[in-house]
């Protein structure tokens, strides 16, 4: 034991190699300390110096003292929260403000437990982790786009303004009326709005049940396709990991789909439940 402690530093590398097996350690392997930690320390000092310099030449955009008489229009959150604020345009506040952020945070925390693919560990790989890269890139892009929209395209009354619009004038009151999907289905098929099934004080009309079927069908089809046609993907992940991954992935794509449905078909909510509206 004592002999090990006293061993010269150069010997440490060969002992690590021996312990890990010759094939596992490439020839150019270096130690975390000091090789990596020094670089990180120097980068941290440069980043701090850069931030200090930027804060000196560009003051914080503080406005006048807050007053209940002159509330700003629009009231914008800090830029990093504008994605969330923009989501409020498309979703119920309970979903946009609580459920979706929680799912994003929990999903990001869960990634190391769900994605245990050893490929790409210790080296950079796109070709061996295409699904992970495409999926994450899409989510990141969607988030950035929501922030960009909040920062650069929302003006008075949180209305949409293109850069060439006159930003000092209010946009006209919208002539488009948003309708719930179940009302659209009800009118299109000529269905009655009286409840078909009652659950306590809540009633479910036929159109409402159709929206339930569409909603559950989206997840059902989404879960089934890789399960049936990409067996390797399912087998690699296993039952629990597969279901968590697919739920998070389909929910992420669902956010974009709901936004598209709202913009293109003027649908306010795709599913109305006694507990929440989606």
């Amino acid at each position: 034991m004592e002999a090990n402690v006293a061993a010269p530093a150069g010997d440490l590398k060969s002992r690590i190699k021996k312990a890990a097996g010759e094939n596992m350690v490439p020839e150019d392997t270096v130690l975390v300390w000091p090789n990596l930690v020094y670089i990180e320390l120097i980068s941290m000092m440069f980043a701090t110096a850069l931030l200090l310099f930027l804060s000196l030449i560009s003051p914080a955009p503080l406005e006048e003292m807050a007053s209940a008489d002159t509330t700003p229009n629009p009231t914008k959150a800090p830029w990093y929260f504008l994605g969330l604020q923009e989501l409020l345009v498309f979703f119920d506040p309970w979903l946009a403000g609580v459920v979706l952020p929680t799912m994003i945070i929990v999903g990001l925390i869960a990634i190391p437990y769900i994605d245990y693919n050893p490929r790409g560990k210790g080296y950079y790989s796109f070709s061996e982790r295409k699904f992970a890269m495409w999926g994450f890139s899409f989510g990141l892009a969607l988030w950035y786009v929501l922030i960009f929209v909040g920062v650069w395209f929302r003006g008075l009354d949180w209305s949409w303004y293109w850069p060439w619009d006159d930003w000092s004038h209010h946009q006209p009151a919208s002539v488009v009326k948003l309708v719930d999907l179940e009302v659209l289905i009800q009118n299109a098929l000529g269905l009655s709005d009286s409840p078909l099934i009652s659950l306590g004080k809540y009633g479910f009309s036929i159109a409402n049940l159709i929206t339930w079927a569409l909603f559950l069908g989206y997840y059902g089809v989404g879960f089934s396709i890789p399960f049936l046609f990409m067996r390797d993907f399912y087998k690699k992940l296993g039952f629990i990991r597969y279901n968590i991954t697919m739920f998070l992935f389909l929910s992420m794509v669902g956010v974009a789909l709901k936004m598209a449905v709202r913009l293109l078909a003027n649908v306010k909510y795709v599913l109305i439940t006694p507990w929440l509206k989606i």
Binding site: Y123, A141, W162, S174, L264
Partner: protein, 47 residues
């Protein structure tokens, strides 16, 4: 006025804009990761 699909509230324009910008940004991120992989591999081979 209501037949002007490009007029306010710009729903079609916003939808197309969001789809295009999200697609382009996703492709940019993926292309960047693919380029990183290639350049790292080249560097390793050079060593």
């Amino acid at each position: 006025m209501s037949s002007d699909i490009w007029g306010y509230p710009y729903r079609l324009g916003i939808a197309i804009f969001l789809v295009v910008i999200t697609f382009l940004m996703t492709v940019f991120f993926v292309a960047f990761t693919a380029w990183l992989e290639k350049s790292f591999k080249k560097e390793r081979e050079r060593k």
